[in-house]
């Protein structure tokens, strides 16, 4: 018993599934559970849920529908539930049938409902640790949250910062254009597989990935070589400062360098003066 278009229009008209005729309620409830199950299975790999548990975790139709109905509702008024209008408004921009389009809109929301559900209910498959590898394993959680200088206004901290700036500048001067392009792409959040990045770097994705990995290793090795006896926290803090200076240097370079891809220039466009009366 799959929903009909009329089931959805009645839900929209009555503003709640519970006010719809019994058969409509059943069809919509089954739809929600079915979509919930599909998305739950897709997300299992990043949670501590065993695949066999997925079926058991499926909420009953009333709960699945309730989570869908409340996820994007800001208030209990029709105005606060404009996501329903959003679901129906998609029809005018779609080549698909109204029913298909409405259900794909509802499915998009249920996908987010399942993400929120898993975030609340289940911990990541990996135990939280600063050594935990992130993404493809090139960095750890600890790399993303390095130590920092607490007495940052002290002369020692200023000296530390200047030293990091000097090291960053020296490292930058040794970088090839390819390495600079790869590093800039990383800072800009652009994929190293993007064709315009590869064109600017004048190499293939494997070569560019390797170039960036080598560069990061050189940076780390250089810090350890110079300050290896200063302790882990100091090395991490110094590396972090170097990376911050390197970011400034690489963006400064970007502005004077020709032939870089448009994707390095962000999508934010021109920024205006923000007039805010506090």
């Amino acid at each position: 018993m799959k929903p009909h278009l009329k089931d959805w229009t009645e839900w929209k008209k009555f503003c709640a599934r519970a006010l719809c005729p019994e058969e409509t309620q059943q069809r919509l409830g089954r739809f929600a559970v079915s979509r919930f199950g599909i998305h739950l299975k897709r997300h299992l790999s990043v949670t501590n849920l065993a695949p066999a548990d997925a079926q058991r975790q499926l909420p009953p139709p009333e709960d699945a529908w309730h989570q869908f109905e409340t996820y994007a509702a800001l208030t209990q008024t029709r105005q606060g539930k404009r996501y329903k209008d959003w679901i129906f408004a998609r029809v005018q921009h779609s080549d698909r049938s109204p029913l298909d389009t409405i259900q794909s809109g509802a499915t998009l929301i249920i996908r987010d409902v399942v993400r929120a559900y898993l975030r609340k209910e289940y911990t990541p498959r990996t135990t939280v640790s600063l050594d935990r590898p992130i993404g493809d394993g090139t960095v750890t959680l600890g790399d993303l949250l390095p130590g920092f200088v607490q007495n940052e206004d002290s002369p020692e901290a200023t000296e530390f910062d200047l030293l990091a700036a000097k090291h960053a500048e020296a490292l930058f001067q040794t970088l090839s254009r390819r390495e600079r392009v790869g590093l800039l792409a990383k800072y800009a959040g652009v994929s190293l597989e993007s064709s315009d990045v590869l064109a600017a770097a004048d190499c293939g994705k494997s070569t560019l990935n390797q170039a960036v990995r080598d560069l990061m290793r050189r940076l780390r090795d250089g810090v350890v070589r110079e300050y290896g006896d200063e302790g882990h926290n100091t090395i991490m803090a110094f590396t972090a400062l170097m990376l911050q200076h390197l970011e400034q240097i690489i963006y400064f370079w970007k502005n004077s360098e020709k032939g870089l891809p448009d994707s390095f220039y962000g999508g934010e466009g021109k920024r205006e003066k923000l007039k805010v009366e506090s």
Partner: protein, 235 residues
């Protein structure tokens, strides 16, 4: 005397690791492939929608409103914006988008104080000047209270000056973004483009009168600052 003896090096606080871990889990979930569910699973076409099925958009744009943008394409997700105040070109207002994730990613993302997932986090860094005529094609879904709006403006001011929220709101924001290989950089790129494309498409699809008020585009090649810089405009 070594550097470590003269410096007071601290670890990031525990809440930052916890928040980043939660954020990363959500990000991984968001990155999972989302292939479309086969259309065979839905019934065949059953005719057209009845007239008046969709509420008209709300034309009067005012600071403090939370608006839901009209969908423009099949793959668009929900996009909620908070209206902050007048700004940019004439006839435009500044809008702060809400994050699709429920944890603040960086020091310039702030918990809104609301529990509803779709409006839980302000993306202060993604603030934009948007033409009123574009916003007129959206729905009002709620309003920020006077205190919420005041807090948002204060956070925006601080972000423009320092790149992060005021010290007293620091624990309601995200951890610092330093490493070039941090996945939050990709997230910001994707979010920036998502909002940009959604609003540009909104604009261009209704550009019959050629009134261009939306201030994105046109200077992409001349942008003087990088994504992480914050001194190209002021409050």
């Amino acid at each position: 005397m070594g550097l470590s003896d003269r410096l007071n090096i601290g670890r990031q606080e525990g809440w930052q690791a916890e928040r980043l871990t939660h954020w990363l889990l959500e990000w991984e979930l968001l990155q999972e492939p989302q292939e479309k569910i086969a259309s065979a699973e839905v019934n065949a076409s059953e005719g057209e929608l009845p007239e008046g099925c969709v509420a008209s958009p709300d034309a009067d744009v005012e600071p403090g409103q939370i608006r839901l943008m009209m969908p423009q394409g099949d793959d668009d997700g929900l996009l909620f914006l908070a209206i902050v105040g007048e700004g940019g070109d004439e006839g435009a207002v500044f809008c702060v988008p809400f994050s699709p994730l429920s944890e603040p990613a960086t020091p310039d993302e702030l918990l809104s104080g609301r529990d509803t997932p779709v409006v839980r986090v302000f993306c202060l860094w993604n603030t934009r000047s948007v033409a009123l005529r574009v916003l007129c094609e959206s729905w009002i879904v709620d309003r920020l209270t006077a205190d919420e709006l005041k807090r948002l403006k204060r956070a925006l001011l601080a972000c423009e000056q320092t790149g992060s929220v005021p010290d007293d709101l620091r624990r309601e924001a995200g951890p610092p973004l330093i490493h070039p290989e941090d996945p939050r950089r990709l997230y910001r790129r994707i979010e920036r483009n998502r909002i940009h494309n959604c609003l540009i498409r909104e604009h261009t699809s209704r550009a019959a009168d050629n009134v261009i008020l939306y201030t994105i585009e046109s200077e992409q090649q001349k942008l003087p600052k990088a994504a992480e810089d914050h001194d190209t405009y002021e409050i």
